[in-house]
């Protein structure tokens, strides 16, 4: 087995968190990192 696949997500407002959650559900072995420049994520604006 090769090393864990890495998924990086740029942005944590709406599209980013949805992508992160779905990716992890599809492949629980995926290493998911989400970067957000602001202090909040998933802030629903």
């Amino acid at each position: 087995m090769s090393k864990k696949q890495k998924l990086i997500i740029i942005g944590g407002s709406a599209g980013g968190p949805s992508a992160a959650a779905r990716a992890k559900r599809v492949n629980p072995y995926l290493e998911v990192t989400m970067f957000e420049q602001g202090p909040f994520v998933s802030y629903g604006s």
Binding site: Q5, K6, L7, I8, I9, I10, G11, G12, S13, A14, G15, G16, P17, S18, A19, A20, A21, R22, A23, K24, V26, N27, P28, L30, E31, V32, T33, M34, F35, E36, Q37, G38, P39, F40, V41, S42, Y43, G44, S45
Partner: protein, 393 residues
């Protein structure tokens, strides 16, 4: 706030790094440059798959004085907190809102709730200028009933500042107005810069080009949300429709495909709703102007009906305008306003658009009826029945 970074980690094993800005994408080496804003540290982080969800930012005005301390835009939670703190601290008495779109309209209510004399400056003659005139006129009436001063045909010239760097007056082509706080609600610009620099293609709207799999032109890079385009199923055109519900749907597809799946997102019909004081406004599909621009032979029908049986408490008038193809009778769009039962009702017509239904098919739909919910003939059925008489086959 929906979730915190800690909840992401504990519940879903997702690493979330706030106050981390991605400044570069290297698609050849498959890595991104990340700046830890708190520590001003920079590092390159490798990826196998990348999802760009950089969102959009508020458009600002390019006129002198635009950087004043009391000029705000409203996009995210922080912006809202900043505005509220300023209002709490300085108790502004006169507020100016620039832009008659739904952010500007919703903020009229917020300003009035804080007892501000509120001025809504608009470049056109009516608020929500992208909607049908009949709908915009109802919105104008609602603004006036709530003591908002609607300023039509304004062009901004300059903000005059005091020695503290605060705007005290707003000069327009129509004259000068004393103000204590200004909100600029002039739409958003997609955040495409780092993507573009890396060679990611943009569409004609200036947002990132994508497809039904949320792919970009670069391999292993996907995109979702306000930074990218979305396919409009009615106009069959790629458009920029920056809305959170679309971002979530695109995000799921990008996430699934980024994890090795095969999901698709076919597009939107263009639905949205907002509230102006007591008035609900909702629309789906194309308006008359857009439908004509896309080459449809357009007709339309506006009706007024009761939100439920007239003798029931809370029955309110609903106005519906249906936009349809003259010969085939195919529904192209619908716009609705009223003080009750509007925002949910539009979804029925969104389904009709997805299914390419005609006006006469809609007129025969079997809707649930009981006096507390609707009239025996739902306003949508009345509208469709009236519109069907105009179809020339």
């Amino acid at each position: 706030m929906v979730r915190t970074p800690r909840q992401f980690k504990e519940k879903q094993d997702i690493e979330v790094k706030t106050e981390h800005r991605v400044t570069k994408i290297d698609p050849k080496e498959k890595k991104v440059e990340v700046v830890n804003l708190a520590k001003s540290e920079r590092e390159w982080v490798p990826y196998d798959k990348l999802i760009i969800a950089t969102g959009a930012r508020s458009r600002r005005l390019n006129i002198p004085g635009s950087n004043a301390l009391n000029i705000f835009t409203l996009k995210d939670l922080q912006d809202g907190i900043r505005i509220r703190n300023y209002v709490d601290e300085k108790r502004p008495r006169r507020g100016a809102i620039l832009g008659g779109g739904f952010i500007g309209l919703e903020m009229c209510e917020a300003f009035r709730l804080r007892d501000m004399e509120t001025f809504l400056f608009c470049r056109r003659d009516l608020p929500a200028g992208n909607l049908e005139r009949e709908i915009s006129e109802k919105i104008l009436k609602e603004l006036e009933e709530n003591d908002v001063h609607f300023m039509a045909y304004y062009e901004p010239v300059v903000f005059h500042l005091n020695s503290h760097g605060e705007v005290t007056s707003f000069e327009t082509t129509q004259g000068s107005y004393p103000v204590d706080i200004v909100l600029i609600a002039a739409g958003v610009i997609p955040n495409v810069e780092i993507a573009q620099e890396a060679g990611v293609e943009l569409g004609k709207t200036g947002a990132i080009r994508t497809d039904a799999a949320q792919k970009t032109n670069l391999s292993d890079i996907y995109v979702a949300g306000d930074c990218c385009e979305v396919f409009n199923l009615i106009s069959q055109d790629w458009v920029h429709t920056p809305l959170g519900d679309i971002a979530n749907k695109q995000g799921r597809v990008a996430g699934e495909n980024g994890a090795g799946g095969k999901a698709t997102f076919l597009g939107v019909v263009g639905s949205a709703a907002f509230k102006v004081f007591e008035l609900e406004v909702a629309f789906t599909g194309l308006g008359t102007r857009a439908a004509k621009q896309y080459g449809f032979d357009v007709d339309s029908q506006m009706i007024e009906a009761e939100s439920k049986v007239g003798y029931m408490p809370g029955a309110k008038p609903i106005f519906i305008k249906l936009i349809f193809e003259r010969k085939s009778g195919r529904l192209l769009g619908a716009q609705m306003t009223g003080k009750e039962g509007v925002a949910r009702r539009i979804n029925t017509l969104a389904v009709a658009l997805h299914q390419k239904m005609t006006i006469d098919e809609i007129a025969r739909l079997d809707f649930a009826y009981a006096p507390p919910f609707s009239a025996p003939l739902d306003p949508i059925l009345i509208a469709a029945e009236q519109a069907a008489k105009k179809i020339v086959r």
